[in-house]
């Protein structure tokens, strides 16, 4: 296990439940979406943890809860050794400066009526940073150069930029307040493949130069493999497997991880012919009514009687990986 000073973020048994209500005047809770339901992981300084899983498994909710942009139902979020889950007001604002988010949609996440300069300098103003107006301008120009844009582009508006350029603007904005942790929520999914590589490389370069830690949320396992040191796989609000990149891709242990990796074709017809791919059955069930026992059991080709009744805990294995599956009791 790592020294506490090495760990920038430690999430313990995080739960985020959304109430489902009925009635207009008197709202009655008729159910709960258990979007995140007992998630634990750690992130080391300078490390990239990939968070993968299919639509609705709770990746964004996890990211937003860590940033305290959603109410935390239960659990602890230790950021630089302090539990930020109960923080409020000034304390919370100060903490927020240290963590920033880059969003998926490079179109929707930038205010169309603001110039790029204003977009990038806004967080500096919000946090009372950056000194005089002239100093702020200089800082913004330096940030634009850092992400591979020209200084003179600062006076333009978002619609004058391509998708990849807009994503660079979003990254410059996130980096303005010099965060230690950046939560990237599908930051390249909306980009064309030839542009994706530009942005993935930028994330890697910035990490090397600035020592950033990333929680990198994505559904594309090939992109995640490219950028992550370790990877956590989520299914219906829970982590089912966590491992170093090499271990996870070489020998996925959880049947869901195996299914996910199998579903992704390799761009080589010879390899694909030899693979003779067989898809798993079914779709992800609703987070409002997750299956009893292991949440993956209705789709699992190896399901046993025990899997239908008993939720497998995330068990640490010898080599630092962890799996939540009755086939691997540890």
């Amino acid at each position: 296990m790592s020294e506490p000073t090495d760990t920038i973020l430690q999430v313990e048994n995080l739960k985020v439940h959304f109430p489902v209500t009925q009635g207009i005047v008197i709202k009655k809770e008729v159910g709960r979406v258990r979007a995140v339901d007992g998630v634990s992981f750690t992130l080391k300084r300078g490390e990239t943890l990939g968070l993968v899983g299919e639509s609705g498994c709770g990746k964004s909710t996890t990211g937003l809860a860590i940033l305290r942009m959603l109410p935390v139902t239960e659990g602890r979020i230790l950021f630089e050794d302090e539990d930020i889950a109960p923080m409020e007001g000034r304390q919370l604002r100060a903490m927020r400066r240290r963590m920033q988010m880059v969003y998926q949609d490079p179109y929707g996440s930038l205010n169309p009526r603001m110039t790029v300069d204003d977009i990038v300098s806004e967080p500096l103003e919000v946090h009372g940073l950056g000194g005089t107006k002239a100093e702020r301008r200089e800082k913004v120009s330096a940030l634009l150069e850092l992400v591979g844009l020209r200084r003179d582009m600062g006076s333009r508006y978002p619609h004058e930029f391509s998708g990849g350029q807009r994503q660079r603007i979003g990254i410059a904005r996130a980096l303005a307040v010099e965060p230690a942790l950046v939560i990237c929520d599908e930051p390249v999914s909306a980009l064309d493949v030839s542009i994706q590589a530009q942005v993935v490389n930028l994330f890697e370069e910035l990490q090397e130069r600035l020592g950033l830690s990333y929680l990198f949320i994505a559904h594309d396992l090939a992109v995640v493999r490219q950028i992550s040191d370790r990877i956590a796989v989520m299914y219906l609000g829970r982590i089912v497997e966590i491992a170093t990149r090499d271990a996870l891709y070489r020998e996925p242990l959880h049947p869901y991880t195996q299914a996910l990796l199998g579903a992704i074709p390799i761009p080589d017809p010879e390899i694909e012919k030899a693979r003779d791919f067989q898809p798993i059955v079914g779709e992800v069930p609703s987070a409002m009514r997750p299956p009893e026992g292991c949440r993956f059991h209705p789709r699992c080709p190896h399901a046993m009687a025990k899997c239908k009744v008993e939720l497998p805990p995330l068990v640490e294995m010898a080599d630092g990986r962890a799996v939540a599956c009755h086939l691997h009791p540890g």
Binding site: S194, A197, V200, I264, I266, P267, F277
Partner: protein
């Protein structure tokens, strides 16, 4: 697979007149599709894949769009010259299409059963009771559980994957000779994507129909396609058997794409090699080759003269002046 193509697209050119000028969405596209074959059209956003498919089906709204020139021979008949009623008899019958967004192509107010039975009623003149019985079989074929019970459900009661299965059932209803699937799984989860594509592939194999698979995913192409057409800025820049294109891509754009995508079996720790710049504005295309401003092998000639799609061997061609 026969020698005479089932579909032969020749010089297809589709323009949109906009306030920014003429958008050359499809700019002289030619390729063939043979019975039983899966032919991929792969390219980035805005390269003209959907407009190509919609042009084949004559679904381009005029204005602003128009097929300016070219032929689309299907079974020996040029679809571009057919009258509207003649074209309606082909669409959904001998050529069927599956769109990216199943929710926008299904009618939310009609039951699933009605919608699957509709093409049978329209094109085959089947009475509703018989069409319904047929619909059950079709839904079973696309692996909808308990199809008899699901016939009276509405689209919103189905998951995204099930709606896409229903779309496939509708497309298959009249036993089409050609299926055009435009990004049929982009909106779906990866495990469901692979279910749907494998199903589509199995069903076309079973019925001997040809499949045009439109996608931006080079992995999907490798897994499912026999032949590949790579599109860039409204043109086919490379065309050939999947094996040959992946083993030795000949166009600098295709090579750039292959180097820029991360893959599950790639070298870890190797930086991706992006293609610099971005695709051109189709309303202001440069003279010569549209890829020239981003090309690592660019020569003087590329900036002035448009390279034609020319064979590099009998089954494989590229539109490029360089000799790499």
């Amino acid at each position: 697979m026969s020698d005479v193509p089932l579909l032969s697209i020749d010089g297809l050119t589709t323009h949109f007149r906009t306030e920014r000028g003429v958008v050359r969405a499809v700019d002289g596209v030619s390729f063939d599709v043979r019975s039983g074959e899966t032919v991929a059209v792969v390219g980035e956003s805005g390269s003209g894949k959907s407009v190509t498919a919609l042009s084949v089906l004559r679904l381009i709204a005029d204005p602003p769009g128009r097929i300016v020139s070219g032929e689309v021979r299907f079974d020996g008949v040029d679809l571009v010259t057919l009258s509207d009623p003649e074209m309606r008899a082909v669409r959904g019958n001998r050529i069927a299409m599956i769109f990216q967004e199943p929710m926008s192509s299904l009618n939310p107010a009609l039951t699933i059963g009605m919608q699957v039975a509709e093409p049978l009623n329209r094109h085959r003149g089947m009475g509703w009771p018989e069409a319904r019985r047929h619909a059950v079989e079709l839904l079973r074929k696309v692996q909808i559980p308990d199809p008899e019970k699901r016939l009276d459900s509405y689209p919103h009661q189905f998951s995204g994957g099930m709606r896409q299965r229903v779309m496939i059932a509708m497309a298959l209803a009249c036993g089409p000779r050609l299926l055009i699937a435009d990004e049929p799984t982009t909106a779906l989860d990866v495990t469901v994507q692979s279910q749907i594509l494998s199903l589509l592939k199995a069903l076309t194999r079973e019925t001997g129909a040809a499949l045009i698979l439109i996608t931006h995913d080079l992995g999907v192409v490798a897994r499912y396609a026999d032949r590949v057409n790579v599109m860039y800025a409204g043109r086919i820049v490379e065309s050939g058997p999947a094996g040959a294109i992946y083993a030795r891509p000949r166009h600098p754009y295709t090579r750039g794409l292959m180097a820029s995508i991360p893959r599950l079996d790639g070298d870890v720790g190797r930086r991706l090699v992006p293609i610099p710049g971005q695709p051109p504005d189709l309303a202001a295309l440069p003279a010569g080759c549209p890829f020239a401003p981003r090309c690592v092998n660019v020569m003087d000639r590329c900036r002035v003269e448009r390279p034609p799609l020319a064979p590099v061997d009998p089954t494989h061609s590229k539109a490029c002046w360089s000799d790499v």
